[in-house]
């Protein structure tokens, strides 16, 4: 197929060493009019330095309240191929593992009904199919769901949970992140597909404090694997690291709590002072392994700066066992959602709600015992409220 539009600006982005998204759109344009028109539209954006997309219309599949994001060009007369260019969010499998056959299956369906363009993956973790028309949505859903795929979340709902690679290929995973993520996803299908919350809710699960999935920055509920008990030391392997790395400077000297030292050629850790930051384990993976009692710390509330400033998740449960059937966890989530439903305003994230009414109120209402792990430091003022039972009458 000859080129439908001249795209001198985008052509500049085919140059250079790194793989080019323009080349990808061009490949798709070989067999899709939608992709061909996308090239023309994006070229125009590059020329005018502004976007040519708008919202509008209501799109989705019957019965669901999410999983499709409506997108329309603001100049459909010029680029009819992208007059509609909706995104379909397919719920990715935990850990983003696929087989060649699974990838081909996705491609076959998408080539039939869509632009042939994808995002692997959207930032929330969905397998994103980029660009289709309203009339194809039901067909796409039937083709995918009949083959065992479902839509991800969007809107005021639980969003597609995601996780780090965990036990599948990481020695530091204290919890089975992929099993947990799959279980949460299956457990809350209704909450994902039929938006019932004040706003979005995201679960992200990391196997350890390295947090490769960035759960602490972008999940309303961040589940981060951790341990109790002593870091397991293989002293022979410690010796092997000598000469390869400077143990004193790179490991002991960088321990934030100063709880490590060498005693002769033995590495000694004062575990009661270790904050489990993961630095030493990451430096000497062969010599050090986490303690034996495994579980997770639950942190809650992170969100982007819109509207009242960015929040990072903070500790609400210092230690919880995360093992099937996760009863204690689901009971807590149920209570939290109920409280959010009762108290939250429309479009108020859980972290914002807690900020508005106060963390102590959250702890009281949910009957969670305060713990010093929940704060960096205690308050600085004596302006606190007492309740009736604190007063002697």
């Amino acid at each position: 197929m000859s080129k439908k539009y001249q795209t001198p600006l985008l052509d500049e982005l085919k140059k250079g060493a790194f793989p080019s998204f323009v080349t990808e759109i061009e490949k798709a344009a070989e067999h899709s009019d939608m992709a061909a028109d996308l090239l023309g539209l994006v070229e125009l954006s590059y020329k005018e330095r502004m976007t040519h997309w708008k919202h509008g219309g209501i799109v989705g599949v019957r019965g669901y309240g999410g999983g499709v994001i409506g997108r329309y060009s603001d100049i459909p007369e010029k680029f009819p191929g992208v007059a509609h260019f909706h995104t379909v969010r397919i719920n990715s499998p935990s850990g983003f593992f696929y087989t060649s056959d699974a990838i081909r299956q996705v491609c076959d369906i998408w080539d039939k009904y869509g632009s042939g363009l994808t995002n692997m993956h959207g930032s929330t973790g969905d397998l994103v199919l980029l660009g289709t028309k309203t009339e194809h949505l039901e067909s796409i859903f039937a083709e995918f769901s009949s083959r065992g795929w479902d839509l991800g979340g969007s809107g005021s709902a639980m969003r597609t949970p995601s996780c780090c690679v965990g036990k599948a290929r990481c020695e530091w995973a204290n919890i089975d992140t992929m099993a947990i993520t799959n279980d949460i996803t299956q457990h809350f299908q209704d909450e994902m597909h039929r938006p019932a919350f004040p706003y979005k809710f995201k679960f992200k699960t990391a196997g350890c404090a390295v947090d490769c999935i960035a759960s602490i920055a972008r999940a309303d509920m961040s589940i981060i694997g951790t341990w109790k008990g002593d870091i397991q030391i293989d002293q022979a392997e410690v010796k092997n690291y000598k000469g390869k790395i400077d143990i004193q400077a790179e490991v002991i000297g960088m321990c934030p709590t100063g709880c490590m030292k060498m005693s002769g050629d033995q590495l000694v850790i004062d575990n009661s002072n270790c904050s489990r930051c993961m630095h030493c384990l990451a430096r000497m993976p062969k010599a050090l392994r986490p303690g034996k009692e495994r579980g997770a710390t639950l942190l809650m509330g992170s969100k982007a700066p819109i509207v009242t400033g960015a929040l990072m998740s903070w500790v609400i449960v210092p230690f919880i066992k995360m093992e099937p059937p996760y009863e204690e966890f689901y009971e807590l989530i149920g209570k939290i959602w109920e409280w959010w439903d009762e108290n939250g305003k429309n479009r108020e994230r859980i972290g914002e709600l807690i900020e508005r009414v106060g963390f102590p109120r959250f702890l009281k209402d949910l009957d969670i015992k305060p713990h010093p792990a929940m704060v960096k430091e205690p308050r600085r003022d004596p302006f606190f409220f007492w309740s009736e039972e604190d007063i002697v009458r």
Partner: protein, 359 residues
């Protein structure tokens, strides 16, 4: 219309187990340690003695089905049909013997894939949709990623740094792309409020939902014009109202631009996770290759390279030397926009007379 298969609802995603390489399945939860072999390959060794080798390649995230099929074919040929994607838009191929690494890597190279992204360098850039798919975009995302990685790709494929430098791009302040905790992040910013086209608001927008769309309650009805008005001092240029009402366009080619924030991280290693903080309030939107932006990123990166101690992340380096010193080292001008007046402003004021003299 041809027969469609029977739809099902609420079945959730396919179970991950069917997608795991047999060696990964067998050694699930039994991994002992890993070693980085090259910036694009690593080996994980299990307690059972089994090994799995991973080769990582970059992708632009925006992928055609054509390229996905090439990846699927390579995985079928070399990796028993198994592959994986990472959160940072890389693709991973697995083999179970060292002898299979070289053929896999040479085929990947021959097919034009860039191998790397493991270890203390620069992995792929987390980013959002931009002009390719979003109505709020103040800049493009894919294009910025491309031009920055074109400049820095040696840190993906071979060169090492004191620690990882995570880069992110968000094309507007909604920051779908999670830039708030990155070592270096670019955020598209609008500088001007939406322009209200009263006639079209009247004809094509639902006034109550337009008012409700504004996160800062800046929008109120304008009954005389059957339209809306914006309280300018309340507007934070987020573009939400434009999502709901296309008669309030916010895009402004001359004033839209790019802010750079630095020094964030999410990992807990050594120090607590940190938010990124403002380094440069505005750079012009200059497609297709954004020279001002790539230069600024290199300038900040070079200051980090010159100053950081081994294993220090950008934020840890800046914390050690102090932000006042950072502006000097990176040769950046400190402007009025750097002084916070938002939610957590008071925490940022310097409540000590001890600070470093800088020029």
């Amino acid at each position: 219309m041809s027969e469609l298969p029977q739809r099902q609802t609420d079945i959730g995603p396919p179970h991950y187990e069917q997608f795991l390489h047999p060696v990964i399945k067998k050694n699930y939860g039994k991994w002992k340690y890993h070693e980085i072999l090259t910036p694009g390959s690593m080996v994980h060794v299990s307690d059972t003695g089994d090994k799995i080798y991973t080769v990582r390649v970059a992708s632009p995230r925006l992928l055609s089905t054509d390229t996905l099929r090439v990846m699927a074919d390579i995985a079928a040929k070399h990796c028993d049909g198994y592959l994986r994607f990472t959160t940072r838009n890389n693709v991973e191929f697995f083999v179970d013997a060292e002898s299979k690494l070289a053929p896999l890597m040479s085929e990947l190279k021959a097919k034009g894939f860039m191998i790397g992204g493991i270890g203390p360098g620069i992995s792929n850039i987390v980013h959002t949709q931009g002009w390719v798919h979003c109505h709020s975009a103040a800049t493009d995302a894919s294009g910025l990623v491309k031009v920055i990685m074109d400049e820095l790709h040696e840190y993906f494929t071979e060169k090492q740094l004191a620690n990882r430098v995570r880069i992110a791009v968000a094309c507007c302040v909604n920051m779908c792309g999670a830039v708030h905790c990155s070592d270096i992040a670019l955020v598209g910013v609008h500088k001007t409020p939406p322009r209200i086209d009263d006639t079209n608001v009247k004809n094509s927008c639902e006034i109550p939902s337009t008012i409700a769309s504004c996160p800062t309650s800046a929008i109120s009805p304008d009954p005389a014009k059957k339209s809306v008005k914006i309280k300018l001092e309340k507007c934070m240029y987020c573009g939400n109202c434009y999502s709901v009402c296309p008669a309030m366009p916010i895009a402004d080619p001359i004033n839209d631009g790019i802010a750079i924030v630095v020094g964030g991280k999410v990992a807990n290693l050594r120090s607590a996770p940190m938010f990124s903080k403002l380094a440069i309030p505005w750079l012009p939107n200059n497609p297709p290759r954004w020279p001002e932006v790539t230069n600024a990123v290199k300038q900040i990166l070079n200051a980090y390279i010159a100053g950081a101690k081994k294993h220090e992340r950008v934020g840890e380096w800046i914390k050690r030397i102090g932000w006042e010193k950072f502006f000097q080292e990176a040769n950046l001008e400190f402007k009025i926009q750097h002084v916070d007046d938002f939610t957590f402003a008071r925490e940022t004021f310097r409540t000590t007379a001890a600070f470093k003299w800088t020029t």
